[in-house]
Point group: C2
Chain length 227, copies 2
């Protein structure tokens, strides 16, 4: 976890990447991963619906960008974003989705069957590496409890919500698809789902080498690769 | 031209897109277009070199992002960026390229043959729609004079430098490839090169409709399409 933070710090401070830029790159890559995991013609439901659940911090903002690109890729995303950040950066990403007429749910049905019936998949952009927000009675604990019982496939961004970044799961959600940002975190070893994508192509070579990220080969101009 | 400005204004003010975000999206799309126009295995020179010439304003910043992504796509870009903007946004995009060890030329050879021999193609990110900067004795007039005599293919971003956005060329450069941002400008009718890409997939549907952009069909998750 400390390493992931060190990489992000280097990108932001030394390379002068912007947060807006990184979140756009990551969110776009996540949407591309969703299209690879669930191609439009393969979806079991008539409508290409996807539920994107966004947490209060950076992982949630990546979810918002992911939803916007899914809309552009002809999916029908719906967003659940209960704890909105006051950070103007996140507010702008929210406005982009609202103005594009992506529906926002005002609450998450506790009756899990309603979610199973309405959507083809759920994107879990709740916590990522910010695990402490979901613990015990944290603001996201209720969402995690619902996601744990969902039967449609879950796509988790970076770190499945509720998992420890290093130790992994302990009775938490079991995503079908994991999208690691920059490089897989330690907990990815405990991931047992069917597809694991890495979205780290934009990371400069020197950073990859310094942190020994051993990046996979990305074909063509692809921004993600299935390990 | 007024229409292009109105669209950009709507994206920035109503949709709350950020300049950093738009420049990243456009620069990435331009790099993808270059890979389609000049695939790595097709390049005539041993090294996959590309010269990216960047002007002082937004078009130049898009060129910087394009160069960064070309590097990631295993090309060897070299940047010529003589009039650096003091805008921190543009400075950050410059730092990203510098830190990735993309070489910057300190001057453009006036001996055109040196350019023809060293590079497979030139990306013209000099002026775009900001045509007045290149006129007469403007800061970019010398660059345009050199580019006019270059024999390797030129890829122009949005509006070939020196062209009028509406009227088009009058003895200016003749790009082989044009990458229109958002939608083709009027001058694109005068474009006689071999490939014309549009990079406007990210533009929200309502904006496309309102301004009657008639977007082309983008296959899969492609961000550009060859018209």
């Amino acid at each position: 976890k400390a390493e992931a933070e060190a990489i992000e710090k280097e990108l932001l401070e030394d390379y002068r990447f912007g947060r807006q830029q990184l979140i756009e790159i990551w969110g776009h890559a996540c949407a591309v991963a969703v299209t690879k995991a669930f191609p439009l013609p393969s979806l079991p439901r008539k409508q290409p619906t996807v539920l994107v659940v966004c947490g209060p911090a950076q992982n949630g903002a990546i979810g918002l960008v992911c939803a916007r690109h899914l809309r552009i890729f002809d999916y029908e995303p719906t967003i659940f974003y209960p704890k909105r950040s006051v950070d103007p950066l996140y507010r702008d990403f929210t406005t982009q989705c609202e103005k594009m007429d992506i529906p926002f749910l005002s609450y998450l049905p506790t009756e899990v069957q309603l979610i199973n019936d309405a959507y083809n998949a759920v994107v879990d952009a709740v916590l990522g590496a910010e695990a402490e927000l979901g613990e015990g009675r944290g603001p996201c604990a209720g969402i995690l409890a619902t996601l744990k019982h969902v039967r449609i496939p879950i796509v988790s961004l970076d770190v499945p919500s509720g998992w420890d970044v290093e130790a992994g799961s302990s009775g938490g959600i079991s995503p079908d698809v994991l999208v690691s940002l920059m490089a897989p975190k330690q907990c990815a070893r405990r991931f047992l789902g069917r597809q694991h994508f890495v979205a780290g192509r934009f990371v400069p070579y020197d950073v990859q080498k310094k942190f020994e990220l051993n990046p996979p080969e990305y074909p063509g101009t692809e921004c993600v690769v299935d390990l």
